[in-house]
């Protein structure tokens, strides 16, 4: 179908002059904006012409030809120039009226433009402040998580480096960043797993990780962490590499209370 489905049948009725009331008004409105339906209407009027051309009957009486010729002889065609003169004043009046209407429209548009410019300026200021905040937050997160971040563990002299981890947990925003260092390298079938221990109930898996060549690792906002859970402690265990797991069953590597 080439026309809009909802108007297809109304178009046929309109072509026949058989559409009335609100349906006709709705269709005329639609035709103002839809070239596809105007084209379909032309097709339907062409179909009407097919029917009209099929009509056959007696020829018109001979007198009707003379009647027409007499009538046109009494109405010689006016020249385009005189037509233009007779229409001139109307067009001029219309032009002035259109100009006055356009002036009022321009005043209103300028006023609305001014208000819009003010709104855009306010929005630009807000956007600028948020951009600065976002850049600061991103820089802080990079310092914690970027591979090139220097992580220096300070300890008392002569003590051997031991695995260490820090969990930054913001319960209200469901955000968790975990940074670990000095982790021993793992065999291929093993993986570290971080656990969140709530005050009651079972521990919750908070992410799998493997250390890099220097023994460092990070977890940022692990997927699947339930929202709003209070943390009593965090722990890291060594688990089979087929995680995540529903409960810690492997060897404990480190732990810390909140």
């Amino acid at each position: 179908m080439s026309a809009h489905e909802q108007f297809a049948e109304d178009l046929a009725l309109h072509a026949l002059g058989a559409l009335q009331g609100e349906e006709r008004i709705a269709l005329l409105r639609h035709l103002d904006t839809c070239s596809e339906c105007r084209q379909e209407l032309a097709q339907l009027q062409g179909d009407m012409a097919l029917m009209a051309m099929a009509s056959s009957g007696p020829k018109p009486p001979q007198r009707s030809r003379q009647r027409l010729l007499d009538a046109i002889a009494k109405e010689p065609r006016t020249s385009p120039a005189s037509d233009a003169r007779s229409r001139f004043n109307w067009w001029a009046a219309f032009g002035w009226a259109a100009a006055a209407a356009m002036f009022l429209v321009v005043v209103q548009v300028r006023r609305e433009n001014s208000l819009l410019r003010e709104s855009v300026s306010n929005l630009a200021q807000m956007t600028g402040a948020q951009t600065v905040e976002l850049a600061n937050a991103r820089r802080s997160l990079d310092a914690l998580t970027a591979p090139e971040t220097q992580i220096i563990t300070l300890s008392t002299a002569k003590s051997p480096p031991r695995p260490q981890g820090k969990a930054f947990y913001l319960r209200d925003r469901n955000s968790l960043v975990f940074v670990a260092g000095n982790l021993p390298q793992l065999p291929p079938d093993k993986i570290y797993e971080l656990w969140l221990f709530p005050p009651t109930g079972s521990p919750i898996a908070a992410g799998l990780f493997k250390p890099d060549a220097k023994g460092n690792a990070t977890i940022v906002n692990p997927p699947g962490l339930p929202a709003g859970v209070e943390a009593k402690a965090f722990a890291v265990t060594l688990e089979p590499a087929t995680g995540p797991h529903d409960a810690p069953r492997g060897t404990g590597v480190m732990q810390g209370g909140a």
Binding site: A8, E9, D10, L11, A12, L13, A15, L16, G17, A18, L19, Q20, R38, Q39, L41, A42, Q43, L44, Q45, G46, D47, M48, A49, L50, M51, A52, M53, A54, S55, S56, G57, P58, K59, P60, P61, S64, R65, R67, L68, L69, A71, I72, A73, E75, P76, R77
Partner: protein
């Protein structure tokens, strides 16, 4: 070759240009070409020779007064006059003021027919297509076309649902188109 012979050889667009310049013989040639179809349509709708003659006179006078109303890019002259004849006749039948301006009649797809033989063959083909339609569809289409009934009036007259009438009318018109395009 007489002036009338020259006119008879001109295409419709050239005749309309001549009418625009006030050439009365061009108007007579247009009448000779298309008065039959204009009158036939009006007579079929109105069923009265006097009323049909008045409609025909009115249509040709409109063309004389405002030849620019016909736009050759919108369809051929004969088909355009035939549709206007049908619309004006329906207006006369229903005793209402003309509802559509002649400028609003935009046609497409209608084949151009130069001579009487073309028009006769064409009319025969359309009548054949109408005759081959299911009777309920042809009846709905003819009531809308020749009697100027609205779909509501046809539904009331036939006892059929409104939606069915709408569908039949549209299907009838498009069936004609498809038959001519094939």
């Amino acid at each position: 070759m007489s002036s009338a012979d020259v006119k008879a050889a001109l295409p419709d667009t050239a005749l309309v240009s001549a009418i625009r310049g006030g050439d009365q013989t061009a108007m007579a040639e247009v009448y000779d070409r298309y008065s039959s179809v204009v009158y036939s349509v009006a007579l079929r709708v109105l069923g009265d020779t006097g009323a049909a003659e008045d409609v025909q006179q009115d249509i040709f006078m409109q063309l004389w007064r405002n030849p620019d109303a016909f736009d050759a890019s919108r369809g051929n002259l004969g088909a355009w006059l035939a549709v206007i004849s049908r619309n004006r006749s329906i207006d006369a039948l229903r005793k209402r003021r003309p509802e559509s301006a002649v400028e609003d009649v935009v046609l497409s797809v209608v084949p151009d027919m130069v001579g009487d033989a073309d028009r006769s063959r064409f009319a025969e083909k359309v009548r054949g297509l109408l005759g081959a339609m299911p009777s309920a569809q042809r009846s709905a289409l003819e009531m809308a076309y020749y009697e100027g009934l609205t779909h509501t009036e046809i539904a009331a007259k036939t006892g059929e649902p409104l939606g069915t009438i709408k569908t039949r009318i549209r299907a009838g018109l498009t069936a004609l188109r498809k038959a001519f395009q094939s």
